[in-house]
């Protein structure tokens, strides 16, 4: 139990402080109530309404009850709040009016006066009533009376200033009630007092603050005032409010510093600018650092002191508020801020002093936080503290460097002096931490004491920081600390420890593509690797650095020289080869094939030009650049045949490689390029394509996990492939920048060659490009020699000289001098040659390489074409003119063959269309590269088609030949000639063609003379025949004796292409045919007479038609057939006539046909009369009269008209329309020409009709017309215009 008279202690422990309440009056009474009072007062919270719109708060009140003394009352001007009595209570249990009047009233008055003198209005009079006392007194007034009296006497209109407490020490409901009322009152009054007094204080404080611009204003004084307020809030457990006070002070001070920096300096601030002499760090273990507070009070504090004190207070309050993480955050800010402020205020600080201060402070804050949190909390809030750890590490590091603790040799005397100074500034260790083993003070002292201790502490801190950063995922920060550590290790000459940190950091920078950090770290790594003697790695790193444009030229040269030095050093002792990745050394930019389609024949030369971008800063002499080549044979693939390749592999021959720029890192930096290959799978049985696809050959590289992939600095995948095929290029100087290197190779085996690796050797150092991507391939093929003969035009025409192109593909065969093509001469095909035939030699890629003249020699059987010399894999092209002879009249045998064959073909082909007759000519050619002959078939088209017909005029006979030009060319025709091959002397063929030529008859005698005939050309009539046109030739047949039954004729015609000169003599076109039964036997004449008595025929009136059939000759050979009946010397034959009018001009009345018996003697005439009626007016052609041989039925072999049609024809009547008739007649003619089968079907022996061959019957009335006038009553005039 606290005694009422508590001494005021100079040391303020705010936590133990309570608002002071003085007690006057009956001290014994108070002493009896005190325990209950002090216990009950804080039990219930009270709402504290605040001024200035601050939020009301529930507050638990506690009080420090002290005996009333006048000294306690603050004097005028005393701003102390902590010692301020907020309430004055007067205790009494007087119930006796007498006593009241005698002593109590005076006492209270005296008390009141003292209070009034100090203008304190916060008072309360408590009257304690007790039943026990009441009972003892007899003349007691009613209880109220004393209270009333007091109220009356003192509580002027403030009746609430006097309360009654009933039986406070009893346990009754009344007592309880009374207590509650009293406590409520007490609390209310206390709060009222707080509000009033604090409000007044705050007002005063603000007034003071407003004076801050006045000269002589002291921040320290103001600080003490506002801190007083903070103390009170803290006392009232209002830590938030207390913190606000400190934060305000903090902000005010900061603002002054900033203003000072801006040139607006306050006088008082200059005091804080005194140089720093002590840097013993923050002290957070005590709630209030009285030492520092006194310094501030006495205005002796330095900036660090002030800041330290301020922060220690903030820290205390924040920890009360359970916000330790804010402490750490604010601490970091504070430390940074202090450093900045000292700089800004230009405070002189010994080197390292601040580092000490920061280091100590960091650790102090961390230890303070650790002190109030459990492990789990700390672990989950590392992100808040790690900054401090890192900062401390950084500071310790700089201290280490400063004090020479990091160097290899340890600190020198200067370093030691500095250390001593620094330690001096720390002062003595504070008593609070003296017992703690791990206090920041001890740590720092120890760390600075020796190299070993420093290393231990520094490593501890660094590892802890790295671990923390890593655990919260701040990998980059961890790497940065790691790099510092690596630097430290390097200084300590332990590169093996540094390496891993550098590698890790570098990996991170490379992965994220930070060029400058990469360069910097790589440089450190290079040094480290050099120390470690990791030659390969060092050289690799050096090559990367040498190509790094972020370095200076000199640095790059240095690293490049490092590589070259090594390469040259090792030359003497071979064996050790260092394989490095090429990508840093040089980049493959382009690749250019020559020939550009990357295709070369066996034995051919292929050159590959590689563009390498050297990234070295100086020229590098390279001993050898080698490209290893993978060879594969795909023999069965069609794709690899020479023809296919030459045609399809088209490209410009330039392959560009993607730029492997390491600056943009992702995906490219970590994963290698895809290596894709085509895949074909063929069925084993028939070699057909089963499946095809694309295979990625480096899946294992691409699909592995990223993390486990080997370090980028050491390309472990670089392995040299041992290929049998290697392209090499020796002694090359690679200048910085673009270099072109040309590889030449002689193709050997046919197949596909894939460029796989490139290796550049500089001394013992090899730079290897492990994969060349995109895939670069070239193909080697071999080809058999070939001869190809093809016409220049679409088709060859027979009979005229035509050009044929010979293409000799030499393939592997080299054409030597004297090699020739031996063409065996075909009979019907001539090879024409001129003096200068030229052959052109092409290379296989169709590039013209040379031209040579061609020697052609011809003998009886063989034409020999001597080929120009040509290397292998070339093509020789030349043209020869060939002439296929349409007919060769030299020998009778072949003549027939040549002619009849086409004729036969003609018939077959003519059915399909109007096609040209073709001739196949086979030539066998002996090539120099083969023992076998090549047979070449050339197809010639015969340009003409000839048809003949026999024409008659009475007994005179004419032969017409129609020549049709089927080709696309126009021709000149001359020397048409028709001869009788029978060579009968009685026969003459007289040409009726325009311009008969003299001597024709003479030449007929010997048609062979036609070839090579030196007839003067001007006398020859030349006729043009254009494409797809016909020309007719007519000859009259004259005879002297009786004619043979048949006549063999031979038609020949000279022709030349219209466009060409007639200089070459050509074989004529010939046509052979036979004419039979051409002698006229009968003359048929029809006559129409108008009805008797009229001059003209009239439509509708019957006219008489007289047909007279006259035999012109006596019995001839041709008459000897079944129709002939011989009796003695009198012969008759049976004929059938038929009158047909196809044009429906006439109506034949009565019988239109009939059979007559004709005597076979000359001039025998038979006349037939019939009636016809013209149906139209005008000149009407006569109806046709047809004559047939009427054969008796006994012969089943001859053709025969069938019975039905025969009968039908008999009934030919007027009403039959024209269409029917035409149909009928056409049918009839058809059946008459080929109706052998129908007779057999009928099985009946019927007489047959046989038409006469065209020459035997002459119709003399053909083409005659008769005028028919319309009948009078006919009003309709029909005019038909055709």
């Amino acid at each position: 139990m606290e005694p009422p008279e508590e001494p005021l202690r100079p040391v303020i422990y705010t936590m133990e402080n309570k608002p002071i309440v003085t007690c006057a009056g009956d001290q014994n009474l108070f002493a009896s109530v005190y325990p209950t009072l002090s216990q009950q007062l804080p039990r219930e919270p009270m709402e504290w309404r605040r001024s200035y719109g601050r939020a009301p708060k529930m507050i638990h009140l506690e009080s420090n009850f002290v005996q009333f003394k006048e000294e306690l009352l603050p004097k005028e001007g005393n701003k102390a709040l902590l010692t301020f009595p907020f309430l004055h209570i007067y205790w009494t249990e007087c119930c006796d009016t007498e006593v009241y009047k005698a002593t109590l009233k005076d006492d209270i008055t005296k008390w009141q006066n003292v209070l009034k003198a100090h203008s304190s209005v916060d008072w309360l009079i408590v009257v304690v009533e007790s039943d026990a006392k009441k009972k003892n007194k007899t003349n007691i007034l009613p209880r109220t009376s004393i209270v009333d009296k007091i109220r009356n006497d003192f509580c002027n209109k403030q009746s609430d200033r006097c309360v009654v407490l009933c039986d406070p020490l009893k346990d009754s409901s009344r007592t309880q009630e009374s207590w509650n009322a009293f406590l409520t009152k007490l609390r209310t009054l206390l709060l009222m007092s707080f509000t009033k007094n604090l409000g007044k204080f705050e007002d005063d404080m603000r007034t003071l603050r407003e004076k801050r611009t006045e000269p002589g204003w002291s921040f320290c004084e103001y600080f003490m005032v506002q801190e007083e307020l903070a103390f009170v809030f803290e006392m009232l457990q209002q830590f938030e409010d207390a913190l606000v006070q400190y934060d305000e002070l903090d902000a005010l001070f900061s603002q002054y510093v900033v203003n000072f920096g801006a040139g607006d300096g306050a006088n008082w601030l200059t005091f804080f600018c005194q140089s720093v002499k002590s840097w013993n760090g923050l002290i957070l273990r005590k709630p209030i650092d009285m030492e520092k507070r006194e310094l501030i009070q006495s205005q002796e504090a330095t900036l660090l002191d002030l800041r330290s004190y301020l922060f220690s207070r903030q820290c205390t309050l924040l920890i009360f508020l359970q916000r330790p993480w804010e402490v750490s955050q604010r601490a970091l800010e504070l430390l940074h801020n202090c450093v900045q402020e000292l700089k800004l205020l230009e405070v002189s600080v010994p080197p390292g002093a601040l580092d000490c201060w920061v280091f100590l402070s960091c650790l102090e804050v961390l230890q303070r936080i650790e002190g109030c949190c459990d492990r789990a909390q700390i672990d989950s809030n590392i992100s808040h503290t790690v900054g401090l750890w890192s900062y401390a590490t950084e500071k310790l590091k700089s201290l280490g460097y400063l004090c020479g603790l990091v160097s290899e040799n340890g600190p020198n005397s200067e370093d030691l002096n500095r250390t001593v100074d620094l330690l001096a500034g720390l002062g003595a260790e504070r008593p609070e931490t003296a017992k703690t083993a791990q206090s920041p003070y001890k740590k720092l002292k120890e760390a600075l004491s020796s190299v070993e201790a420093f290393e231990k502490h520094y490593l501890d801190l660094s590892h802890a920081t790295i671990e923390m950063y890593t655990s919260i995922g701040r990998i980059r920060s961890a790497k940065l600390v790691g790099k510092d550590l690596a630097e430290f290790y390097m200084r300590k000459k332990s590169p093996q420890k540094a390496e891993v940190y550098l590698q890790n950091a570098l990996k991170n920078y490379v992965a994220e593509g930070w060029a400058l950090p990469i360069t910097h770290t790589r440089k450190q790594l290079a040094e480290c690797q050099k120390h470690l003697g990791q030659i390969e790695n060092y050289l690799q790193t050096s090559s990367l650095l040498a190509s790094d444009t972020h370095l200076t030229e000199d640095e790059r040269k240095h690293f490049c020289q490092e590589i070259l030095n090594f390469a040259n050093e090792q030359k003497e002792s071979p064996g050790l080869k260092v394989v490095l990745s090429m990508h840093s050394f040089a980049q493959l930019k382009h690749l250019h094939f020559d020939p550009s389609n990357a295709l070369v024949h066996v034995g051919g030369t292929l050159s590959i030009e590689i563009t390498l971008l050297s990234q070295m800063p100086i020229s590098v002499q390279v001993e050898q650049i080698a490209v290893s080549v993978h060879f594969s044979i795909e023999k069965n693939s069609y794709r690899k045949t020479a023809e296919w390749l030459t045609k399809h592999k088209t490209s410009n021959g330039i392959i560009s490689f993607p730029n492997e720029n390491s600056s943009v890192p992702f995906s490219r930096s970590s994963s290698p390029a895809l290596e894709l290959y085509e895949m074909y799978e063929r069925s084993p049985s028939d070699n057909s394509l089963n499946t095809t696809g694309i295979i990625c050959k480096n899946v294992h590289m691409l699909l592995r996990r990223q993390e486990s992939s080997s370090s980028l600095e050491i390309p472990s995948g670089v392995t040299l492939e041992d290929g049998a095929h290697i392209l090499k290029c020796s002694n090359v100087t690679l200048d910085p920048g673009v270099n072109k290197i040309i590889f030449r190779t002689q193709a050997k085996e046919p197949g596909t060659y894939t460029l796989r690796q490139m290796c550049t050797s500089v001394g013992q150092v090899q730079f290897v490009l492990p994969h060349i991507y995109p895939i670069v391939q070239y193909d080697v093929y071999s080809q058999d020699p070939q001869l190809k003969v093809e016409p220049l035009t679409d088709s060859l025409l027979a009979g005229i000289p035509q050009k044929v192109k010979f293409t000799v593909t030499t393939g592997y065969y080299t054409i030597k001098n004297g090699d020739s093509l031996q063409l065996s001469n075909a009979d019907a095909m001539l090879i024409l040659f001129h003096a200068e035939n030229r052959a052109i030699i092409y290379s296989n890629t169709r590039e013209k390489s040379s031209e040579a003249s061609l020697m052609i020699q011809s003998s009886e059987k063989v034409t020999s074409v001597s080929l120009p010399m040509a290397p292998a894999y070339h093509m020789i092209e030349f043209e020869l003119e060939v002439l296929s002879l349409p007919s060769t009249p030299t020998s009778g045998e072949s003549d027939k063959l040549v002619n009849k064959e086409p004729q036969r073909k003609n018939k077959e082909k003519q059915k399909a269309g109007n096609c040209m007759v073709t001739l196949d000519q086979k030539v066998s050619i002996d090539c120099p590269w083969s023992i076998y002959s090549t047979i070449i078939a050339l197809t010639f088209n015969i340009p003409f088609k000839a048809t003949h017909s026999l024409l008659s005029a009475g007994k005179r006979k004419y032969i017409q030949v129609c020549v049709q030009n089927l080709s696309e060319l126009g021709f000149q025709l001359s020397d048409s000639n028709l001869i009788d091959t029978g060579n009968s002397p009685d026969l003459q063929l007289v040409p009726l063609n325009t311009k008969c030529q003299k001597g024709n008859k003479a030449r007929q005698e010997d048609p062979r003379e036609l070839v090579g005939d030196a007839e003067p050309k001007n006398s020859i009539y030349i006729q043009h025949i254009y494409s797809k046109q016909s020309v007719f030739f007519v000859w009259e047949l004259l005879w002297t004796k009786e004619l043979p039954p048949s006549l063999h004729c031979h038609f020949s015609l000279d022709f030349y292409p219209a466009s060409e000169d007639r200089s070459i003599s050509l074989k004529p076109y010939s046509y052979e045919f036979q004419v039979e039964n051409f002698f006229t036997l009968y003359n048929v004449k029809a006559e129409i007479f108008p009805p008797l008595g009229t001059e003209y025929c009239k439509t509708g009136s019957l006219c008489s038609l007289e047909v007279s059939i006259t035999r012109l000759s006596d019995l001839l050979e041709v008459d000897k057939d079944e129709a002939l009946t011989e009796s003695d010397e009198y012969c008759t034959t049976k004929l059938m006539y038929e009158v047909v009018d196809n044009s429906s001009n006439w109506a034949v009345c009565g019988k239109s046909s009939g059979v007559i018996s004709m005597p076979v003697t000359a001039r025998a005439t038979h006349k037939v009369h019939m009636e016809v009626m013209p149906l139209f007016a005008g000149y009407l052609p006569f109806p046709d009269v047809r004559l047939f041989k009427y054969l008796p039925h006994h012969s089943a072999h001859s053709t025969q008209l069938d019975a039905d049609s025969w009968i039908e024809n008999d009934n030919l009547s007027v009403d039959k329309n024209m269409d029917d008739q035409t149909d009928n007649s056409s049918q009839k003619s058809k059946s008459s020409s080929h109706s052998a089968a129908s007779v057999e079907h009928k099985g009946l022996p019927m007489p047959r009709l046989q038409p006469f061959p065209s020459g035997q019957v002459f119709n003399s009335s053909t083409g005659m017309q008769i005028l028919v006038i319309p009948s009078k009553d006919d009003h309709i005039l029909e005019v038909s215009v055709t």
Binding site: Q340, G473, R476, W514, V664, P665
Partner: protein, 139 residues
């Protein structure tokens, strides 16, 4: 004003980085790179928030003795990092915000350039000038 301004791609490689005392370039590169840790942390913490409510400005990433590092992340996760001298107390949060907004606008202009490949380093004179203006202003 700012001593270093960096634009960092979604994949954390620098698209643009410039600092004014050229001698300290390396240090700034390290600083900016390290600050990505905090950016990542803040972005992943923010990831849970609704997209449209997301604040692009990340605030102070971390202070160092000499510099303050501020961050900003676009919706496409391109990061802007600005390093400001600690002694430059005149710079308030609002100014930093507006600077970032300006930077973002200028960056958007760069992206709108049809000849610019997203993901390439920024070589734009307009952007350069804007960055220069933000760096020079006070210094």
């Amino acid at each position: 004003m700012a001593v270093c301004i960096a634009v960092i791609a979604k994949e954390n490689y620098p698209l643009y980085i410039r600092s004014i005392p050229a001698e300290q370039e390396l240090k700034f590169h390290y600083t900016v790179h390290t600050s990505l840790d905090v950016v990542d942390e803040k972005v992943s913490a923010m990831g849970k928030a609704l997209v449209d409510q997301r604040e692009l400005y990340l605030g102070l990433l971390y202070p160092t003795e000499d510099y303050k590092v501020y961050g900003y992340v676009t919706n496409s996760k391109v990061k802007f990092v600005m390093v400001v001298d600690s002694s430059n107390t005149a710079l308030r949060d609002n100014e930093i915000r507006s600077m970032f907004r300006k930077l973002h606008n200028s960056y958007t202009d760069v992206m709108c350039n049809p000849f610019y490949n997203p993901g390439d380093r920024i070589h734009s004179r307009a952007f350069d000038n804007m960055v220069t203006s933000m760096m020079v202003q006070v210094c």
